[in-house]
Amino acid sequence: MSARRIEGAGLVDRAVELRFTFDGKPYKGYEGDTVASALLAAGVRILGRSFKYHRPRSVWGAWSDDPNAIVDIALNGTRFPNCQATTTYLSDGMEVRSVNAWPNANRDVKSVLNLASRFLPAGFYYKMFMWPDWHLFEPTIRKMAGIGTLGADVIEGYDATILHETCDLLVVGAGATGLAAARAAAEAGQAVLLVDDHSSVGGRLLSSLDPIDGQSPADWIDEHLRAIQSAGGRVLTRTTAIGVYDHHAVSLVEDRGLGTAPIVRRLRPSRMILATGAIDRPVTFVNNDRPGIMSLDGAAELLGRYRVLVGQEIAVLSNRPDCQQVVADLQAAGAKVQVLDPNQATAKAIGTRHVKALKSGGRVVPCDTVLASAGLTPAIHLWRHAGGKLDWDEARQAFLPGWGPDWVSVVGAANGVYDLELSLMTARAAGLGECIADRGTYTLPPLWPSVSAKGRQWLDFQHDVTVKDIVLAKQENMVSVEHLKRYTTLGMAGDQGKTSNMPALATMAELQGKPIPEVGTTTFRPPYTPIPLESYTSAHKGRAVAPLKRLALEGEHRKLNAAMGEYGGWLRPAWYGASNEEEEAVARECNTARNAAAIMDGSALGAIEVIGPDARAFVNFVYYNTMSTLKPGKIRYGFMLTEAGRVFDDGVMACIDDTRFVISCSSAHADAVMAHLENWRQDSFDPSRVHIHDATQNWSTVTIAGPKALEIVKDLGVLAEADFDDFPHMSLKHGSFNGVLARIARVSFTGDTSYEISVRNDHVEALWQAALEIGHPLGAGPVGTEALVVLRAEKGYILIGKDTDGETMPHDLGFTVPRIKKKAAFVGDRSLHTETANRVDRKNFVGLEVEDGGGLLPIGAHIVGSENGEPLSLGYVTSSHMSPTLGRPIALALLSNGANELGQIVTTWHMGEERKARVASPCALDLDGERIHA
């Protein structure tokens, strides 16, 4: 016989029928059912298969302590893999499938693995990964391993709502104890928040008909709930406190049903009371994993809440002095119940697909269900998250809260208090901030796994960890609990070790001849129960966290049919033309730039102003290059270094006057440069005498570069004709455009004569249009970011982070003078004179010319040499482009001692392909720099 639904109130609403399928067959349940209770009520016994041996599995517990029943559920067209059947509330239309079973849980062809179990001992995977070659076994193992199947479905808008809450007292667990504590506190005027992970409050009172304080459990619960709420307390159900973090932080996750993202509440209560109860512990005996063997409290919960009687002929195997109450309730519901001596050394379950009898103490007891409980394990997870310690209690055979943080109290069964009256008294005191240390008396005769029994005894049901695996782990010296857990996969079932950890600990203690507390426990980590990963992110991700930076000229670029792309957080024109015409567009734009003039949007370049009487000293300190001598109106190129001497950023800096400088930095790097400068400003300077300000977004810049640039800029009228008489490369002048201030800088990123014209954002559109209009008859036109990268590479101008790595120092890039000559202190100075900095085999920045007549060298290709006959990487290709101007491929690289290898032929290697290249100057075009002054 199997389980069935019986008469009686319970918490299910029989007026609301819910239809669902399991492995394709139709079933029905009621509103208030979990997937597990509905399936059990319908007579389904086998809900899944175990992970390693594919043994049939039913439920063991009735809630989050169930390690067995994991199912895939499809609802409204979306699949949800690996749902715990015992904690997932049933919805109409669910299509439930068993996992790890083929073709279904009832008939599983892979269960032949069960017979081959001696080939799958603890550590099997680790050993196979190592020997003889993981790839030999990988396809088979991959097919066998893993539970459930990940769906590719993405639910639009499935983002947790994150709320920030506040309260004086958080009470976790709304059983009798939690209700009593919350009521006492609320009536004393505290702002109370009471949470429970079930859909109804009441906890174990809902599994019992025994009067409490002279009332029926239902009336008592109702009265307390109303008292709490009328005193201003708040109650949240289906809400799990998943973790306690530093500085009183607690996360609550509210389950809103499958397919609806949870609500996450974060709060820092002044006080917290844990009334989280205790979890039933399995009895470890031979074949104790058979369907039909389950926890005593689980059976009580199924009966009380869902009116599901788990069996008709029930054998109870328990050392718990309080098991008689459950026995009486089961008998009242119509079951035949026998209580057996829980001597697990001789106990053995009979029956393959379902338990048929229990062999115990020499006799065979026919039964369809075995309720096995080896005692209670207090749920102290949150106490451990909060930093509380545990003490071993010999009388209760359990770890109980010991020393801990003063803002957290643990009451009721979670504190080892199993007497209801005492629980209520201590809970009410705790609600008022008082502490009663009395736990009452309770003695649990020890009932732990025996390593001498013949046959397999399960500890972790889902992952098939048996007592023998612990023996093997011990033999192989995996004695630390943390090693044991990882080696055997113990505690990785859906219940996260809630049922398996204690019996395994006790087994290891017996094997080592140590008392249990000396073996220790594993670390308790959040979340307490599995939650959707989206609970952690909410909408706080992607663009909502890092919005795109937009150019004032974006509309103009789009008018010109620009292909827009993200570059360092900015949305910039990649090239002008269709998105699939990159190659032609880049070549065309390079030709425009070299033959006439490129008209470019330079607004994304960082512009950081340094202002104040100490500004000059400050910039000299933060730059590798000597900046103290820079005269007003002049511009200098330089590097910023980290204190370890590594190149951090490069760019030009302009001197406006003696107290005002403008640093221009890589567009992707502006925020990091700001933070870097701010650090040194506050560390080494008087912040009241030097100020820095990121003005990037205050200006927009149109850059005009190429042989026709001067002609176009003169025509724009931003400067008087006479200004051009004395306007050399690397200088700055102020002019005007449309009557507003314009800053005109002669700096170049292309190697051609170049003018950067910066104006207020609201005037840049007119400036851009004017430049295009004047430039057009001369052959000039808009040029995007991709072409600019090629133009830079032709000149050997580095891109920090692309042509440099975390080791690069300025002298590796050919900038050697300040290292030797600069007298003043600067960031990173001393690091440029260490043994590492002086090595001759440092990777230097070089150019590579293709020598084998082939195409582009692959970026990332290693330059290979050899040492004692072994191949050796000497460096790698950092940039590689086809140069339309030169009509050949160009490449840049970092090469060991490259500065002294000019003219040498080297071999590059990438994905098995060898190429030949000649080491050259990074500058492939106009080595003498004549174009820049043209």
């Binding site: 530093d246 500085h247 974060r266 204190e643 100075d829 001393r830 260490t834």
Partner: protein, 88 residues
Amino acid sequence: MQRFPCPFCGPRDEREFHFAGEADKDRPDTTQDISDEAWADYLFNCKNSCGPTREIWVHFPCQEYFIMERDTVTMSVAGTTSVRKDLT
């Protein structure tokens, strides 16, 4: 998630802060000779104390660096002080 008191903005969530180094570690005068060992001490070696520490942190929204005294075992924060001479 820890909560730190910025000396300028008050208590804020940990994610707004960034660790910047051990406190009381002055930059050596690099215009003078400094041994490799002394430089390495300044640059890389830290006490990494188990227990009470003094550290430099930065609060990103206001960009101010400050000293925080806290305990790396209990995670309790004893207090924060500005490093700004004009504010202390």
